[in-house]
């Protein structure tokens, strides 16, 4: 089991933190870094919190404690379905098996006068959804149909259900929630090698799958990186899978430093066949080796290809052999300006 040094600091300037008071890593006079504070990375959920915080702002982990030996809790799968409250939008998670619904003591608690204490039952089994009224006072509707008591009725994702006068829609449990910057952003600070949110690739994270909309945030194994040559934005890590890139925080890779990069600028997809970049219709375009890409047409990237977005130029470096990585790590470790940690050091764990 890997012991993680949770006190490691990672310099960063995520936009939403810039107002907070934070400590600075010592001996650091890089002007770009003066905007950054020290942050601490949570060993459980990998999100960054200011050093002044006692608990992780995301998962609540007490940051001063050592993480125990219990990292390999079996991941909990995404709920098979959710019930979305028609007026408030509140999402009630449904579980595989029987879910009771009612005003008191039920699995799904609905505080509404027309809902009976024990009103109905929603059973989910092998992908099928069955709704059954349990003799409620004000009845249950599946779609437009009013169902009698104790009459199991099939429903599916998208069906509108009505319990008394409370209305809700069945939705897929893996639907993404509305974008919330705190949940999705990986902010990259000005200087290179200061990336948060890239976890070690062989660390079994607990509960990783419980909130599927966050899976993309866990960058996973890196296929390579777009190393900055020059320009205001930062080096971009490229994980396997798809990441969106842009200036705004709802992108998986946010590059707020370059104002010539569009809010939603490009997408990089990596699979067995290679690394591809697609311009998403950005205002100032994306060039590869000096050739401007057609929007929405993907372009393969090879080692040493030069990519320009906004005012920042990059060179592609695909994943390097382990020896080379260790060398690079040793090198970066010798520089006293370096912040320890970051994804360079995590690959070899």
């Amino acid at each position: 089991m890997t012991q993680i040094d949770q006190t490691q600091m990672i310099g960063t300037t995520p936009g939403e933190m810039s107002g907070a008071t934070m400590q600075m890593p010592a001996g650091n006079f890089d002007p770009l870094r003066t905007q950054m504070g020290g942050t601490i990375q949570c060993p459980v959920c990998k999100s960054a919190s200011p050093l002044t915080e006692m608990y992780c702002g995301e998962c609540g982990f007490l940051l001063s404690q050592q993480l125990g030996e219990q990292l390999d809790i079996p991941a909990e799968s995404a709920p098979p379905a959710v019930l979305v409250d028609g007026s408030s939008g509140h999402r009630y998670r449904l579980r595989e098996g029987v879910n009771t619904l009612g005003r008191q003591g039920a699995d799904i608690l609905v505080n509404e006068g027309t809902v009976s204490r024990l009103h109905a039952r929603i059973t989910i089994q092998d992908g099928s959804i069955i709704v059954e009224d349990l003799g409620s006072s004000n009845g249950t509707k599946v779609g437009a149909e009013r169902i009698g008591p104790n009459q199991p009725t099939a429903a599916e994702i998208g069906t509108i259900l009505k319990f008394g006068s409370w209305q809700a829609t069945l939705a897929s449990g893996s639907d993404t929630l509305p974008a919330s910057p705190a949940d999705k952003t990986i902010a990259i600070a000005g200087p290179d090698r200061t990336i948060i949110g890239a976890p070690a690739e062989n660390l079994a994270l607990p509960l990783q799958a419980s909130e599927p909309e966050e899976d993309v945030v866990e960058l996973g194994p890196l296929a390579g990186k777009l190393v900055k040559i020059d320009g205001p934005a930062a080096t971009i890590p490229i994980p396997v899978g798809t990441v969106t890139i842009g200036r705004k925080s709802e992108n998986i890779i946010a590059l707020p430093q370059d104002s010539f990069i569009s809010g939603r600028h490009a997408e990089i997809t990596t699979d067995d066949t290679g690394i591809y970049i697609t311009d998403l219709g950005s205002s100032n375009g994306t060039t590869v080796n000096g050739v401007k890409l057609e929007p929405h047409e993907r372009q393969i990237l090879r080692d040493d290809d030069e990519v320009q977005m906004g005012q920042t130029r990059y060179k592609l470096e695909s994943a390097v052999p382990q020896e080379a990585q260790e060398k690079s790590e040793a090198h970066s470790g010798s520089s006293d300006n370096e912040v320890p940690g970051g994804f360079w050091s995590e690959g070899e764990a």
């Binding site: 995301e58 408030s88 608690l109 505080n111 509305p178 607990p206």
Partner: protein, 446 residues
């Protein structure tokens, strides 16, 4: 200082909390400490431990305490008396109402603002909102109140709220309160429960609460308690006309001890945590936040809210599962304040630890929440004739025992009063119980 816990002539105003709980919310203790805050907040985990490897349901309790010492000013009042002068108030009731209103005038100081609205079929503004300077003149107007016909409660209530609202801009830091007195069902104007209560909710959102004073045996206790509950005001059942002046006096004294108003609680949830319910509240759910509004808080009192939470699997270790952020207007110091408290659980895989570490105060609150739900069931059973009087009395006995056990002696006495009423074959048990339920749900603990 008068002992408020005594009951007066069988009136059961629900603000009379009775004795303090056994479980040790002692406001006096906090006042003696170092704290300079008007309110203190504490967020208690229902158990020190929770199971890490499985999904579990737990409780959490937020406790708001105000100190007992009078530091600084008393709350200036902006109040409106909204008085039912329908035909049924004729004679003794109206005479006592006038006396009660005069009492209020006597108690107010030049800094306070008073307005008086009367209603029957029509609504009259007897006195628009202004400072009480010429007391004899105000009383003269009060003496001229005469009975009319029907009961247009809604329009009367809204006219009262408008009087308060008309001076809101000039009265920051005031306690804004309508005292609504009625003896009957609404018979004119808007009568529908949901519509009225919804309007009351809008008034609350601009900072106006309503204290509902139900008089006699004919008023609609569900509506009156609903109005008070939705707006964070108090509810009183006044059995006899001669009790009117005393109840008005007591309510006014209560208002004068308010130290915090506009009390809002936001629960910030950590990842892997959901709130299933907050007992007795209608919370607003956000993506990772849950908001509730609490009633105004008087000096030397405790308000609680009990949460049921669901915890997903967690790694073994200590986690803050939620943070309660309380914002309020501090009336003593006339400024906005924020306080917060963390709710911490230690996740373990040792079931024995969980069994041995239940928090007694939270467990007690859970028993109280249970008692409230029992009372609601009993009342519903009485209405739908599911329960005979004997059956209802059985249920009430049980609930009373729970309340006594939970240290809620005052509320237990109210259940007692309802029991006695049932024994006499009286029809007003529900009027008393309605207030008991409201007090239990609103977490007023003394």
């Amino acid at each position: 200082m008068e002992d408020r816990t005594q009951m007066i002539g069988g009136a059961q105003p629900t603000v009379m909390g009775g004795s303090r709980t056994q479980m040790g919310f002692d406001p006096a203790r906090t006042a003696m400490g170092m704290s300079m805050n008007t309110l203190e907040v504490e967020c208690l985990a229902g158990n020190r431990y929770a199971m890490g490897p499985e999904v579990s349901r737990e409780n959490a309790l937020i406790v708001l305490k105000s100190g007992t010492q009078q530091l600084g000013r008393r709350a200036p009042l902006n109040i409106c008396l909204v008085i039912d002068r329908s035909g049924s108030m004729e004679g003794e009731p109206l005479e006592y109402v006038k006396r009660a209103c005069e009492y209020v005038v006597d108690m107010l100081e030049p800094n306070d603002i008073l307005s008086i609205v009367t209603f029957e079929e029509q609504v009259d503004i007897l006195m628009p909102a202004r400072r009480v300077v010429n007391k004899p003149l105000v009383k003269e107007h009060i003496r001229r109140i005469e009975v009319g016909n029907t009961t247009n409660l809604y329009d009367g209530l809204m006219a009262g709220c408008m009087q308060i609202a008309s001076v809101l801009g000039q009265t920051p830091g005031y306690v804004n309160r309508v005292l609504l007195l009625t003896d009957g069902e609404p018979t004119a104007g808007l009568k529908d429960f949901n519509s009225i209560v919804q309007q009351v909710g809008l008034q609350k959102s601009q900072g106006i609460s309503i204290t509902a004073l139900g008089f006699g045996s004919e008023y609609n206790e569900e509506l009156m308690a609903g109005i008070a509950r939705r707006s964070g005001g108090n509810y009183y059942y006044i059995q006899r006309p001669d009790l009117l002046p005393e109840v008005f006096r007591r309510e006014l004294e209560t208002l004068m001890t308010i130290v915090a108003k506009n009390v809002q609680v936001r629960f910030q949830l950590s990842k892997w945590v959901q709130i299933r319910q907050i007992y007795g509240s209608q919370p607003t759910f956000g993506q990772r936040t849950v908001d509730i509004t609490m009633p105004d808080i008087e000096r030397g009192t405790v308000r609680t809210a009990l949460l049921e939470i669901e915890l997903d699997r967690h790694p073994i270790g200590t986690f803050r599962v939620l943070k309660a952020e309380v914002s309020y207007d501090d009336i003593v110091n006339n400024r906005a304040e924020r306080i917060s408290s963390d709710c911490i659980f230690e996740f373990t895989n040792d079931r024995n630890l969980i069994a041995a570490n239940v928090h007694p105060v939270v467990a007690n609150e859970l028993a109280i929440a249970q008692a409230s739900q029992n009372l609601q069931k009993t009342m519903m059973g009485m209405r739908t004739q599911q329960f005979t009087a004997m059956g209802a009395m059985d249920e009430l006995q049980k609930t009373r025992a729970i309340l006594i056990n939970a240290g809620q002696t005052g509320q237990a006495q109210e259940v007692d009063a309802a029991l006695q009423s049932l024994q006499r074959g009286g029809a007003d048990a529900e009027k008393t119980l309605m207030g008991t339920i409201m007090n239990l749900d609103q977490g007023r603990r003394q």
